[in-house]
């Protein structure tokens, strides 16, 4: 009976991906969040959690910020210690916070059937895009494609902020300091939302250093309303 139900669900999923014709029983697309036009299965969400929470960029960022601590945040040095030992403690803390953020978001997000991905507005004007990026810091799609408040992202920020309390040295181990870390973590979420919205423009801008955008005499019409 269970097998029949699973097969039925699989067939419906495959059917949902193509609106015409018979559905050959094929495995569902495993896309790890790469396919914006498809919802995410549990396997996709697990893969997404892993690739977003533990990757070279995160490790590099943690190492870079940790290395800057003595310059930007010298007062914490006396609590964490100096040299390799202090560095490894601070670095470990940053990595753990990052993992806690991703894991908190994934667990709470799964409870509320959230699709954890940011998605762009596809609007054309600047300010509406800024507005979209700001509001969609805390708005996600659910598994049915409808928008909802993201409890997962808030939980992720709190996990990140408070996870360090287990080992942060006493003098700087306060709720206030943890809330500052929550705020910093939410800042990262805002940055993520803006990056998703403006990534094509920023990448094109960066690549224009290598490739000057070719000049076109007249801009072609995008919609029939532009045809003169």
């Amino acid at each position: 009976m269970i097998r029949l139900l699973v097969l039925g669900a699989l067939a419906m999923l495959v059917r949902a991906q193509s609106d015409q014709g018979p559905a050959e029983p094929l495995p569902p697309t495993f896309h790890c969040g790469d396919r914006d036009d498809l919802p995410m299965s549990g396997k996709d969400k697990t893969c997404y959690w892993w690739t977003q929470s533990f990757n070279a960029g995160m490790l590099f960022g943690a190492a870079f910020n940790t290395a800057l601590d003595p310059v930007l945040n010298g007062s914490t040095l006396k609590y964490w210690g100096q040299g390799a030992e202090g560095f490894s403690k601070r670095f470990g803390t940053r990595v753990t916070q990052s993992m806690a953020k991703g894991t908190g978001q994934a667990l709470v997000g799964a409870m509320f059937h959230e699709d954890p991905r940011f998605y762009p507005s596809r609007k054309e004007k600047f300010w509406p895009r800024v507005g979209f990026a700001l509001t969609h810091t805390l708005i996600v799609k659910n598994d049915n494609g409808h928008q909802q408040f993201s409890a997962g992202r808030v939980a992720g920020a709190f996990s990140s902020g408070f996870s360090g309390m287990a080992w942060t040295p006493d003098p700087i181990n306060s709720t206030g300091a943890a809330m500052v870390r929550v705020g910093t973590s939410m800042g990262g979420v805002v940055a993520g939302s803006f990056w998703k919205e403006f990534q094509p423009d920023l990448t094109n801008l960066a690549s224009s250093i290598f490739r000057k955008p070719p000049k076109v005499a007249t801009k072609p019409p995008k919609k029939t309303g532009d045809i003169k």
Binding site: D37, S207, F210, R211, P220, G225
Partner: protein, 472 residues
């Protein structure tokens, strides 16, 4: 600490490796009927199985990193499958050949393989409506090791860009070009009316462009000779074109424009004098004004990229500037290039992101009304797609019908059957999301109506005939 960390890192790295192997290892046609029914997914050919809701057959031909076949019998089986489809469908075979790109291979669970299969089934349901047993839809999947690292190690995977690009160029040179041309020829050897479409994506587009270069040269030379005869005819038929695909598609091609520009420079003058035509979608219309009632021009090569394909629009120019492939094509001299294009741009920018090479423009029809497009081109190609509810560009919350027109740019430098233009996000949203319903609906707009391949219809007319170009 060091003693522990090295094995851990090694283990993690190894766990992330994708095997470089032949994915489809068992022959189909040399096996007995009983054997064919087992290990279906491992065979060179996955056959038509109407009871299993599989309305198409699919052949795999795989290549090693050095460009050699893993097993040349795969090609023999693929050609056999095309012959079977031709016979089964009474010369109404529809053969779609696909060369994948970076981060893909011919594995059983590869997304390109699965998406390709879903779309083949969808096409087959349309083509073979009412006569599924005689369905002649065939897919030929040309596989190479485009993926080295598991998606769980995404950063490492991204670092394989240059290595896989150089491998793609290496693979493109001989056996794969040989396989592409043999498949094209086999489709047309059954009957000229069989339909042949070849699609290359990303580095697969690079491979495909290299593969067809030699044949394009032969077509160009024959056309030049034909036009040089100066005879007045309604139709130009080329022997070299008869064996070629009806449509070659380069989608989000990860290659600079150098090859495309060289081809256009060499044959533009001749190619501009002829049109390839697509039969009307509706056989008879009273007024004859509807686009579906008209015989419209169609491309021989269609090179399109999504306006939001960051990989080819943003990353490719940087990558090609930082490290050009050692055996990449040179740029033609400045004097031969269209105004506004420089040799540097030719070597760093993809053709479909280079406005100087655009032959057409795609315009969205506001409120579904495409009639203003007639001002641009009386023979524009109408496109209708459905944007799924889940797609980010869809703000309606349900499936959204969209219409576009593809209109010629009569002032363009490129007015040849090598069509080049950018396509909107609604058709292809990013670099990798291809073989969706909407992209296939876009592609089929350039082909004859698929229902004309049904067994209930009279045999479709051959497509590969050129007519003198007509004015707007």
């Amino acid at each position: 600490m060091k003693a522990v960390s090295i094995p851990v890192v090694l283990l993690m790295t190894l766990a992330g490796c994708v095997p470089q192997k032949q994915w489809r290892q068992k022959p189909f046609y040399s096996a007995t009927p009983a054997e064919r029914a087992t290990d279906v997914e491992q065979r060179y050919v996955i056959p038509l199985d109407v009871n299993g809701q599989r309305l198409y057959s699919l052949a795999f031909v795989e290549f090693k990193n050095n460009g050699d076949y893993w097993d040349k019998r795969q090609l023999d089986d693929a050609l056999h499958a095309i012959d079977d489809a031709d016979r089964r469908s009474s010369h109404r075979a529809v053969v779609v050949t696909f060369i994948h790109g970076w981060k893909n291979n011919a594995g059983q669970h590869n997304n390109n393989v699965l998406d390709f299969r879903r779309q083949l089934n969808r096409i087959a349901a349309d083509v073979c409506k009412g006569d599924l047993e005689h369905c002649g839809v065939v897919g030929v999947y040309l596989g190479w090791s485009g993926d080295l690292v598991s998606r769980y190690a995404n950063t490492t995977r991204t670092l394989t860009y240059f290595d896989r690009r150089d491998t793609a160029i290496r693979v493109a040179v001989d056996p794969i070009a040989d396989a592409v041309l043999k498949v094209m020829k086999q489709v047309k050897s059954g009957a000229e009316s069989n339909l042949s479409v070849v699609v290359g994506h990303s580095f697969g587009g690079l491979v495909l462009e290299y593969a067809i270069t030699k044949q394009m040269k032969l077509i160009g030379d024959e056309l030049h000779a034909e036009l040089g005869k100066g005879t007045t005819r309604d139709e130009v038929q080329l022997k070299t074109l008869s064996d070629f695909a009806d449509l070659v598609v380069l989608i989000n091609q990860a290659a600079p424009a150098a090859n495309a520009v060289s081809t256009l420079i060499q044959y533009r003058a001749d190619l501009e004098q002829v049109n390839l035509l697509r039969p009307p979608r509706k056989a008879s219309c009273d007024a004859g004004e509807l686009q579906d009632c008209k015989q419209l021009t169609r491309p021989l090569i269609l090179s399109v990229s999504s306006v939001t394909d960051i990989a080819t629009k943003g990353v490719l120019p940087v990558a090609e500037t930082v490290a050009r492939p050692p055996n990449g094509p040179p740029s033609p001299p400045q004097a031969l290039l269209p105004s506004g294009l420089t040799p540097k741009k030719v070597l760093t920018t993809a053709a479909a992101h280079t406005p100087q090479l655009y032959s057409h423009q795609i315009v969205q029809c506001a409120n579904g009304d495409c009639s203003p497009c007639l001002k641009l081109d009386k023979y524009y190609i109408p496109i209708a797609i459905t944007l799924p509810a889940y797609a980010p560009s869809n703000s309606t919350g349900s499936d959204e019908k969209l219409k576009y027109c593809v209109a010629r740019d009569f002032k363009a430098w490129n007015r040849t059957p090598y069509w080049i233009f950018e396509i909107p996000t609604a058709i292809v949203p990013d670099h990798s999301t291809i073989f969706t319903d909407r992209f296939v609906d876009f592609l089929t707009s350039f082909l004859p109506p698929l229902e004309s391949y049904r067994s209930s219809q009279p045999a479709p007319a051959p497509l590969q005939r050129m007519t003198p170009a007509r004015p707007n």
